[in-house]
């Protein structure tokens, strides 16, 4: 046996193979991209992040930052679920449609009976479904997400069809449900308590008035969920199993992990997170439409991939996805700030998604070449 500096039978430690946390690179990218937009705006006499209007007393451009945060929050909550699914070695294409279906169904249980002295013109059900306590639409909404996610997970785990196909089916079907629910009509005029889910001051309630951030409940919920899920992924056996199944499903099975059951659980949680996004979105907009959440699944996947979640499974983190979500939204807002036409924005968004996947492939190849 070879005697090395580390002891008998030792395998010497190669410092060059030490892994630099990928999240640092993603964070640097965020800072860099923000700087680029700041410079581009300055060249135009404006500012990306800072207030430039003399008649407004503020340091930051609060309007823009609020828009970025709302975008990050709604799609980001979906991305938190998608992150877990991708780490598991799967994919979830259904989340945008689940947002649509959940929005319609939850909203129909959140309507108020009287609007400006008249009966609610958009009423879906009879009087029995009017002015229900806010817990009812929340429970119904989460239930919708749970059912959709459970079906996804069940199909993936037990029929062994590729996750791409299973969730593609759900993507089409859930959108069908969203349109069928009210024959395509929008559902509006929620109760005050439902409207306050997004527009109230959750941070104020949670901190007993010490802090206050009215109208930014989606961002508060996003941060709370991100912290919770980060802890779950890092410190509980749930996260360990996600990474294990994603990196070597056979090894996970041989180790005694109930792979099928865990997949159902992860897809169900992803479905419920899409439902949370739907509830916050309808509460924010005070209306639900069958077309809500179109393409959100791709935005969420893009956020995860930009944040370093590998489509091959087994790699990535909630922290990465949160930064990825910020990058995604900064780019979209940035293009608006330099007055890039909306059509170009769509094209660029497509390029970002493809670019992120190319980057992921490149990272994988580089890793393979090193080891």
């Amino acid at each position: 046996m070879a005697q090395t500096t580390h002891g008998v039978g030792g395998v010497s430690f190669d410092a060059s193979k030490r892994t630099w946390p990928n999240e640092i690179n993603v964070l640097l990218a965020l800072v860099l991209i923000t700087l680029v937009f700041e410079v581009l705006n300055r060249m135009d006499g404006g500012s990306f992040l800072f207030n430039t209007r003399a008649n407004v007393d503020a340091i930051f451009n609060e309007q823009r930052i609020n828009i970025i945060l709302l975008q990050v929050a709604i799609t980001g909550i979906i991305a938190l679920g998608v992150t877990q699914v991708i780490i598991l070695g799967g994919i979830d294409l259904s989340s945008g449609s689940v947002v649509g279906a959940t929005a319609m169904i939850a909203m129909s249980f959140a309507q108020t009976a009287v609007v400006n002295g008249n009966p609610n013109p958009k009423a879906i059900f009879g009087d029995w479904a009017m002015d229900l306590p806010v817990i009812v639409p929340i429970a119904v909404g989460l239930g919708c997400g749970l059912v959709a996610g459970f079906i996804n997970g069940f199909l993936v785990a037990f029929t062994r069809i590729p996750p791409f196909i299973a969730t593609l089916g759900m993507m089409v079907s859930a959108r069908g449900v969203a349109k069928w629910w009210s024959n395509g009509n929008p559902i509006s005029f929620p109760t005050e308590s439902y409207a306050s889910l997004s527009n109230g001051d959750l941070l104020g309630s949670l901190t007993f008035g010490l802090l206050s951030w009215p109208g930014q409940n989606p961002a508060v919920v996003f941060v709370l969920l991100a912290v919770l899920l980060h802890l779950v992924m890092v410190y509980t056996v749930y996260g360990k199993r996600c990474y294990a199944i994603g990196s070597n499903e056979d090894a996970a099975r041989m180790s005694g992990i109930n792979v099928a059951r865990h997949k159902v659980l992860v897809y169900s949680i992803a479905g419920m997170l899409a439902a949370v996004a739907a509830i916050l979105l309808t509460s924010k907009n005070l209306t639900a439409q069958a077309g809500m959440g179109v393409m959100y699944e791709l935005d969420a996947i893009a956020m995860a991939v930009i944040g370093g979640v590998s489509l091959a499974g087994g790699r990535g983190s909630i922290v990465g996805t949160v930064i990825g979500a910020l990058i995604f939204s900064v780019i979209i807002s940035g293009f608006t700030s330099i007055r890039l036409d909306a059509y170009y924005q769509e094209m660029v968004k497509g390029a970002i998604i493809v670019g992120a996947v190319v980057l992921d492939q490149w990272r994988q190849r580089r890793r393979a070449a090193r080891s």
């Binding site: 046996m1 008998v8 892994t19 509980t236 090894a251 087994g314």
Partner: protein, 256 residues
């Protein structure tokens, strides 16, 4: 407690019309290291797959640790105390060393079903103890398996078997894909296992390795056990003759 840890009688496996394993009678004593040799397709891996419950046998009986067993799957076999290092390393590449060692049998601080909180410190300490026991040094336990060499991976896979109080360790060609230095490391671990008095079944093609490490050599040929040889009473030439079929043992007396 008998002296025999594993015993099979008439162990048979047919894949359709193919008789992959025919009437295998095998015995392993506590603390004994036995090599299984034979040409490709001789039935070595089939034999191991029946013992470890990866496949269900066609016929025959198995006794392990004093009682007759019928493992429904590899997990049951593992719970009974049979640890197997498979050729295709059952490791999760993106997890670190302690996570791999404790995959599927984690230690917990707090049990909350699927959200049970891991006792990372205890698992790390147990990992260090297991690596010390097997003589493996991996300086950075937090490194993922992906960033390790083939030898390091194999060492982790083997250390996993030593972490838990296993009663029998089976290794299917543990050094097949390794270089000279890494092979030496794995062989060092096998000597450690011998020193701890744990029984081992080693499948190997490497004659030098087999003569270095084990007490007894069992030769498979065309699905049957054709020779059962004490290492100190045989030679490489004789083993090769049995493997190729040039020589046959008329009566298999149990040699001890």
């Amino acid at each position: 407690m008998s002296d025999i840890i594993l015993k099979t009688e008439g162990l048979t496996k047919h894949y359709g019309g193919v008789h992959a394993l025919q009437d295998a009678d095998f015995e392993l004593r506590r603390g004994e290291h036995v090599a299984i040799m034979g040409d490709n397709g001789a039935g070595k891996s089939t034999f191991v797959r029946q013992i470890t419950g990866v496949e269900q046998r066609t016929a025959g009986r198995i006794w392990f640790d004093g009682r007759e067993v019928n493992f429904a799957g590899p997990i049951e076999a593992r719970e009974a105390g049979i640890e197997t290092v498979f050729q295709n390393l059952a490791l999760a590449d993106d997890l670190d060393v302690p996570s791999n060692l404790f995959l599927g049998r984690e230690k917990f601080l707090l049990r909350l079903g699927p959200f049970s909180i891991l006792d990372r410190r205890a698992m790390r300490q147990a990992t260090q103890a297991a690596l010390t026991k097997t003589g493996v040094k991996i300086p950075n336990l937090s490194n993922t398996i992906r960033n390790m060499s083939g030898g390091q991976r194999q060492c982790v896979a083997i250390a996993r078997t030593a972490t838990f109080a296993s009663k029998l360790i089976i290794m299917d060609e543990p050094t097949a894909a390794l270089g000279v230095r890494e092979t030496a490391q794995v062989e060092g671990i096998i000597r450690q296992i011998k020193a701890h008095g744990e029984p081992l079944i080693l499948i190997s093609h490497n004659m030098r390795q087999v003569f270095d490490l084990v007490d007894r050599i069992v030769v498979f040929r065309r699905g049957r056990i054709v020779a059962n040889l004490r290492k100190d009473q045989t030679t490489g030439e004789e083993v090769v003759a049995y493997i190729t079929g040039a020589k046959t043992q008329p009566e298999l007396e149990v040699v001890a």
